[in-house]
């Protein structure tokens, strides 16, 4: 009876397309909004995740997340280095600065100061120029999105001279960095240069990033650093999650996205359930005839489930396909950098669509099950 069920479904083209597009729309809305939400939340921890060499981040005890800075005295670097199990520990500066382009544009930027010797903390990919040039005096590296933001429409180029906090510096390299939560450009220089570029302050050490010695578990090392120094030490994963959680808990972003995703689910469920119910209702006499002829309830159940499954799979494929096309088309848009359709989102949306179709078909199945086949004898 499977083929009969499919022909019944495809025979009513308007409802069939309505069902597929309803599910497709719900899938698109849910998967796209969840992807953007995850992308945004990932951005809140992007600067932590970009520092791939570090196992443990050490910071002032009052720091709650990566964008909340309270500097430590430089001596804390030595204290951390003195803890057993530390392979190496280097300073990392993070702060805000203002750069002025030759065209006179003032732009606030995130300034990262990397360890002078190792340049640990650098972004994962250099697109133009050389990392070694960062060791030259008054050298600056900028991320691609920042370059596009400051000089929109212009090709990437190095050698430009800009002022940072009124000091002339040369852009010697362009990097591909994960975009931060705020849309400021990210610029990199050496730690000592960052201290020079920024206004005098008693403490300027934002973070100490630490590599655990071979065989030392980062979580244990973090606990040991906390115990020995009184500073806050977290594995990079814990620090990243803490930053994400901060934005989740302290901003209205999850509520906003949550509402949109819930609406997508409700609209999808309502459209699918209503259309599917009407489809079954309009075929009720036919189902009654089938039951009278001797088609069993189990066969009818299989028919309805198959119809729901086909509509669900096609709608889901349409919605996920459109979502994939959206992210593919916007892959070079700086504002959407890092927003991708993850397999986890696809899987989660599939579960949501399965629930929608289950809810949609339950009411219809019940209607068919309680249907008295004697209905066919009533003119």
């Amino acid at each position: 009876m499977n083929l009969v069920a499919l022909k019944m479904l495809l025979g009513d083209r308007a409802k069939y397309l309505g069902l597929v597009f309803g599910i497709g729309f719900a899938t698109l809305l849910m998967s796209q909004q969840v992807s953007i939400f995850i992308g945004l939340m990932t951005r809140t921890a992007s600067q932590i995740m970009d520092v791939r060499e570090a196992d443990v981040w050490v910071m002032h005890p009052r720091v709650k997340y990566v964008d909340e800075l309270e500097a430590m005295p430089d001596v804390d670097l030595s204290r951390v280095r003195g803890v057993d199990g530390v392979a190496w520990a280097v300073p990392l500066y993070k702060g805000n600065a203002v750069i002025r382009s030759n065209e006179g544009l003032l732009q606030q930027v995130i300034l990262m100061g990397l360890d002078d010797g190792s340049l640990v903390g650098r972004p994962p990919k250099i697109l133009m120029g050389s990392l070694a040039d960062l060791k030259r005096p008054n050298a600056l590296m900028i991320d691609r999105a920042g370059h596009q933001f400051i000089w929109p429409g212009e090709p990437l180029s190095i050698g430009r001279v800009v002022e940072i906090n009124d000091r002339r510096v040369e852009i010697v390299a362009i990097a591909k960095a994960s975009p931060p939560f705020v849309t400021f450009p990210v610029v990199y220089t050496r730690y000592s240069e960052a201290l020079r570029f920024t206004p005098p302050q008693r403490n300027k050490l934002s973070f100490v990033i630490v590599k655990a010695a071979a065989g030392v578990e980062p979580k244990r090392l973090a606990a040991r650093i906390r115990e020995r120094t009184g500073l806050q030490a977290l594995t990079w994963q814990d620090f990243a999650w803490r930053s994400v959680r901060h934005y989740v808990e302290r901003t209205g972003i999850p509520v906003n996205f949550g509402i949109t995703v819930t609406l997508g689910f409700i609209v999808g469920a309502a459209v699918a359930a209503q259309t599917f119910y009407i489809f079954v209702l309009e075929n009720l006499r036919q189902f009654g005839a089938l039951k009278a002829i001797g088609v069993t309830d189990f066969q009818i159940l299989r028919m309805v489930i198959l119809q729901a499954l086909v509509v669900g799979v096609l709608g889901f494929a349409l919605g996920i396909g459109l979502c994939g096309v959206f992210f593919w088309l916007t892959r070079d848009v700086p504002a959407l950098d890092g927003f991708v359709l993850r397999w986890q989102v696809i899987a989660g949306t599939a579960v949501a669509v399965a629930i929608i179709m289950l809810l949609s078909s339950l009411a219809s199945i019940r209607k068919v099950f309680v249907l008295d086949p004697a209905v066919v004898f009533r003119g």
């Binding site: 009876m1 083929l3 009969v4 022909k7 019944m8 479904l9 495809l10 025979g11 009513d12 075929n283 006499r285 036919q286 009654g288 005839a289 089938l290 039951k291 009278a292 002829i293 001797g294 088609v295 069993t296 309830d297 189990f298 066969q299 008295d372 086949p373 004697a374 066919v376 004898f377 009533r378 003119g379």
Partner: protein, 240 residues
């Protein structure tokens, strides 16, 4: 299965319907036998219980009391899927409103009992074409119901009732939605089917234009079988 002198036999059928706390009895101990090789009409006024009796005779409704045997099998003792399977193997149905699936062709519609029994749709439709040809519908086998007239749709329904060679064919007002000429054509087909000694045809009807096709006419009133009428002679054609 033991062969029986009757294709269908009902004994002491009682049916009560719960009507908001009160019980309404619509059938009062009905006894009825349907013989093979005969076309039996069941007639009576609206609301006399014909449809309820038909539903019970075919196992669609369960009686409050009494038994129904079809081909020697007591179908009132069957339950759920076994009863449904018995219906699709031994009974053929023709409804007043045809109840064809609009998305299927005539051949596919006629093939439904075979498909329900597990035969692939293509193979079943091929077999159904033979049945359609038998009732003069070969040229319409690939048409959908919306491309057919009422009479043609009813003939597809007849093919659906015949395709699996059931022992009893039950028809509920098969001519009610048809004009006189088309109704006569449908009844001629049913008459021919009933001439097969292995098939019984039971027709529930109001339509006195078709009484002369019957071998036997059973009358019913107020939930009881009230007797039998002699089948009238066929009317003379207007232009002999």
């Amino acid at each position: 299965m033991a062969s029986a002198p009757f294709a269908m036999r009902a004994r002491g059928i009682v049916k009560d319907f719960d009507n908001g706390g009160t019980s309404a009895r619509v059938l009062h101990g009905v006894d009825l036998e349907i013989e093979p090789g005969r076309l039996t009409l069941l007639i009576g006024p609206s609301g006399c219980g014909k449809t309820t009796l038909l539903s019970i005779l075919t196992g669609i409704l369960t009686p409050s009391a009494g038994t129904v045997e079809v081909q020697g099998v007591c179908i009132t003792e069957l339950r759920g899927a076994r009863k449904a399977r018995f219906r699709r193997e031994h009974l053929g149905f023709i409804f007043q409103q045809y109840n064809l699936l609009p998305a299927l062709t005539a051949a596919e519609n006629a093939a439904i009992p075979l498909v329900a029994d597990g035969m692939p749709l293509a193979e079943a439709a091929k077999r159904a074409r033979t049945t359609l040809a038998r009732i003069g519908m070969a040229d319409h086998a690939d048409k959908r119901p919306n491309q057919l007239s009422g009479g043609q749709m009813q003939r597809v329904a007849i093919a659906r009732a015949l395709v699996h060679a059931p022992s009893v064919i039950v028809c509920d007002e098969p001519t009610a939605a048809l004009d006189e000429q088309t109704g006569r054509t449908v009844m001629e087909i049913l008459r021919e089917i009933a001439s097969d000694p292995s098939s019984a045809v039971l027709v529930v009807t109001h339509d006195n234009r078709i009484y002369h096709f019957a071998d036997r006419i059973v009358t019913m009133n107020d939930g009881r079988i009230t007797g039998e009428l002699p089948p009238p002679r066929a009317p003379e054609p207007l232009h002999a």
